[in-house]
């Protein structure tokens, strides 16, 4: 037993995020920490790594009682953390990032200063150990996120190598990159390191974990060997309901057939150089149009064009049949479009503003510079949307940055709904959100469509798209590769994502 926590309690503003949680991490294991948004995973990690103070309970590391007061303190004790968002310096080289603050120095007889050759050499060796091949002198920001993540891990294990905490390390990686990360994790585990791993992808849990601890509503549900807990049992443990609900949700009915209604939005040969070419879409009221494709296929670019974040340089966009020019999100909003961006943190939330202010922001912006919502209207509207979307917060007046990722996403959907849009564009609305949260959000989307809203749903997860979309358009290599009706199989979609268009369309029903 390397790291042991007993009876951990942590409260934010009087609300218990952790309520007497026990947790045990052994040397030489990969241990997955699972739970819905708001179950207390992040809080537990914060307490273990010194980012949040220990309010009650005990932590011991290799038998010695510890009380980390900061992440640096935890690191000195041997607990290193790699967070979801890489927090390194993009303008420094790979090697500099790994050794920042502890660069090897040259002897004064050789001129003093930083020993660059030694620094780069050590960085190379370290990364080779993780099976990463990269020029360690390159600027970090110029490298893919996956490599940046490996650099963060390299830094963490080089500083202290007893306990490594990975907080959703895979949410921005593609499947090859995930494979690489996993083999690195296995290698570290075999060398005797204890790895605590948080993810929302169930498959990944089984691919790499030896043991699973499940939290729910700030309490411990249980600790299980990964082999003894199957998928359904894991979800049941996280959600706390039996799998009948699972089944009910899986059968969400796709939106109604609305082929006879005029489209809310249509595009003809929409294109922008260096972005996408020749996009032809039609989205009708009550329809959920799915947009599938690999990372970099042009999914997000389409959304940016439709919402005026980029200006198209060819083709046209029609809203309710009228050609429109969209050069700014404010114009798109004036045409009753709404958008939930993929990058929640950098493009979505305004962190220090309250939840209420975040929700009303777009509505206020559309009302112009002079008209302000009455205080009572503002409260009524935000209360109603928070209830509708089940936003869980101690109070709606706290800064939105304090919420968990899933609740932040709900706030962004609430912000969009506050404007009563005719078309809602969602770019990866379920990314980084746990299973139950995903299902809740998808239920909401289906209901919105049932009330006549048009939705454009962009997702990398084909299974998710198939569950809600009435039609699916597939992007490949920044072009529209084809479309499939709702109810198609995953294989058909994957075939279209991967293969030339003609071959698949011939085989499509």
């Amino acid at each position: 037993m390397l790291l042991q926590a007993r009876g951990i309690v942590h409260a934010y503003a009087g609300k218990r995020a952790l309520d007497g949680v026990d947790f045990t991490l052994r040397a030489g294991e990969v241990h997955a920490l699972m739970g819905q948004n708001g179950a207390g995973k992040s809080t537990l990690i914060k307490v273990l790594t010194g980012a949040a103070p220990l309010q009650a309970g005990q932590i011991s590391l290799a038998g010695r009682s510890i009380r980390p007061t900061s992440t640096q303190d935890a690191q000195r004790l041997g607990i290193s953390t790699v967070y979801q968002e890489v927090n390194l310096c993009g303008n420094l080289s790979v090697a500099e990032n790994i050794f920042a603050g502890r660069q090897p120095l040259r002897r004064w007889t050789r001129g003093g200063g930083i020993d660059w050759r030694g620094l780069n050499q050590r960085a190379r060796t370290l990364l080779a150990g993780l099976d990463v091949e990269v020029d360690v002198r390159r600027e970090l920001a110029s490298l893919p996120v996956a490599v940046q993540q490996m650099v963060a891990i390299a830094r963490a294990i080089d500083i202290s190598a007893r306990v490594l905490v990975l907080d959703e390390p895979t949410s921005s990686l593609d499947s090859d990159e995930v494979e690489k990360l996993f083999s690195a994790m296995k290698r570290l585990r075999d060398s005797g390191m204890a790895i605590l791993f948080v993810t929302h992808f169930l498959d990944q849990v089984y691919a790499v974990s030896d043991r699973i601890t499940v939290l729910r509503n700030g309490r411990l549900v249980g600790e299980y060997p990964a082999t003894a807990l199957d998928h359904a049992a894991l979800v049941a443990a996280m959600v706390g309901r039996n799998s009948s609900r699972e089944a009910a949700i899986a059968n969400v009915t796709p939106g109604a057939d609305t082929r006879d209604q005029p489209p809310v939005l249509s595009t003809r040969n929409l294109a922008r150089r260096g972005s996408v070419s020749s996009v032809n879409l039609e989205i009708r009221p009550g329809e959920i149009l799915g947009l599938a494709g690999l990372l970099g296929s042009g999914r997000t670019e389409v959304a940016r064009l439709l919402f005026g974040l980029d200006r198209a340089d060819a083709g046209e966009i029609r809203v309710s049949g009228q050609p429109v020019s969209l050069g700014d999100p404010a114009q798109a909003i004036a045409h009753h479009l709404a958008f939930c961006p993929e990058e929640r943190k950098t493009e979505g939330i305004v962190e220090d503003l309250s939840i209420r202010d975040n929700i009303v922001l777009t509505l206020q912006a559309r009302m112009g510079l002079w008209r302000k919502l009455k205080a009572s209207e503002r409260i009524e509207l935000t209360d109603r949307l928070a209830r509708l979307l089940d936003i869980r917060a101690a109070s709606l007046d706290v800064p939105i940055g304090e919420l968990s990722g899933g609740n932040q996403q709900k706030c962004l959907i609430a912000r969009a709904l506050a404007t009563n849009p005719r078309l809602l564009i969602l770019d990866e609305p379920t990314r980084g959100i746990d299973v139950a949260g995903k299902q809740e959000i998808m239920n909401q989307l289906t209901q919105l469509a049932a009330q006549g809203m048009a939705l454009l749903f962009i997702s990398a997860e084909v299974e998710e798209l198939l569950r809600v979309a009435t039609r699916i358009v597939v992007m490949r290599d920044r072009r529209q590769a084809g479309s499939l009706p709702g109810g198609s199989t995953e294989e058909q979609v994957y075939a279209l994502i991967a293969a030339p268009a003609e071959a698949v369309q011939a085989g499509a029903p």
């Binding site: 919402f307 700014d328 404010a330 798109a332 909003i333 962190e351 503003l353 559309r366 302000k372």
Partner: protein, 333 residues
């Protein structure tokens, strides 16, 4: 209760101001005295209020620019340009109205120019406004043909030296402008937009906030405030000096904004705090006189005082002091 008061955002700026006034009153027993003469109120406090007016106006404009993640270091030069324009206009035409309109219009243009450089050309605010900071003095000299223009037109005098309701006109003007501005920011969503832009400009734009035109207007407004200050300053000394009007005012304005609790990183701002910050700076100057500090060490003394004031305002510093205080009684633990 005490903790609640301590957490009020304006608690420390107000405390600092009060301490400075107490210090003055201790050094100079007549400091707090107010007298009513010829229908006007006189006294050191009134004097501070009057002299702080141009700084408070400039700092109010600066507050909004900083809140939206910008900076304007050209305000001192814009003061000189506006002063020169006003002086030239009133000397040439003898029309007070025309002089005021011309000075304010030129100042507004200067501000919009800064805004264009930042918003359209995408320059870093400090560099964009550095251009006008340096070039502006030259422009002001061009307007005055390198001379100090002395103003003989009596009504112009009123702006900087006149009294309204027994109070100095400039002070009344500054209070009215700041109160109106506060009302504008709270009764319209403008305050929300400025904070959103300051915290996350990209997210604000995607949420539909017209960040670019708003930012442009804020720079324009900041220029306008500098123009108003230029009118007050030139009227106060009855002349326009292209080289010396408003020198280093930009730094005082930034200092006032900071003292008032506005974050230099954007987002959080307080107009009332800025007004108090301007009063703190002016009271500091008065302190130097009332303590009889010799002119040659004047600046060093001022710097030292500012240093103490900033320490007092720093939450980190106060926390470490408190840490020392609570630890010292029982060193064994």
């Amino acid at each position: 209760m005490i903790r609640k008061v301590l957490a009020l955002p304006l608690f420390w700026p107000c405390t600092t101001l009060a301490l400075l006034i107490v210090l003055n009153a201790a050094a100079n027993p007549g400091f707090l005295a107010l007298a009513w003469r010829d229908g006007h109120l006189y006294g050191n406090l009134i004097d501070i209020l009057n002299r702080a007016a141009p700084l408070a106006l400039v700092a109010a404009g600066m507050t909004l620019v900083i809140a939206a993640r910008g900076l304007d270091i050209s305000v001192g030069a814009v003061v000189a340009i506006a002063a020169a324009t006003g002086a030239l206009c009133v000397s040439a035409t003898g029309s007070l109205g025309l002089a005021i309109v011309a000075a304010l219009a030129v100042a507004l243009l200067c501000g919009l120019w800064n805004g264009l450089l930042v918003v359209v050309a995408g320059m870093q605010p400090i560099i964009a406004t550095l251009i006008l900071m340096v070039a502006g003095r030259g422009v002001a000299q061009l307007i005055t043909s390198g001379q100090i223009i002395t103003i003989y037109y009596a009504p112009y005098d009123f702006i900087g030296n006149g009294f309204l309701f027994g109070l100095p006109f400039a002070a009344v003007l500054a209070v009215v402008v700041i109160v109106l501005l506060h009302a504008l920011l709270t009764t319209t969503p403008l305050g929300l937009f400025i904070r959103a832009i300051g915290i996350n400009p990209l997210a604000a734009r995607i949420a539909g906030v017209r960040a670019r035109p708003i930012t442009l207007c804020l720079y324009g407004f900041c220029g306008l405030m500098a123009g108003l200050a230029g009118l007050i300053i030139s009227s106060n000394v009855k002349s326009a000096d292209a080289n010396n009007a408003g020198t280093l005012l930009e730094l005082d304005a930034i200092l006032a904004v900071t003292l008032g609790g506005t974050a230099l990183t954007g987002g959080r701002f307080s107009l009332a705090g800025t007004a108090i910050g301007a009063l703190i700076i002016q009271t500091l100057t008065a302190t130097i006189y009332s303590l009889g500090v010799p002119p040659e060490v004047n600046l060093v003394f001022k710097a030292a005082l500012i240093f103490v004031v900033m320490l007092l305002q720093s939450a980190e510093f106060r926390a470490s002091i408190r840490g020392l205080a609570t630890r010292s009684p029982d060193p064994a633990t």
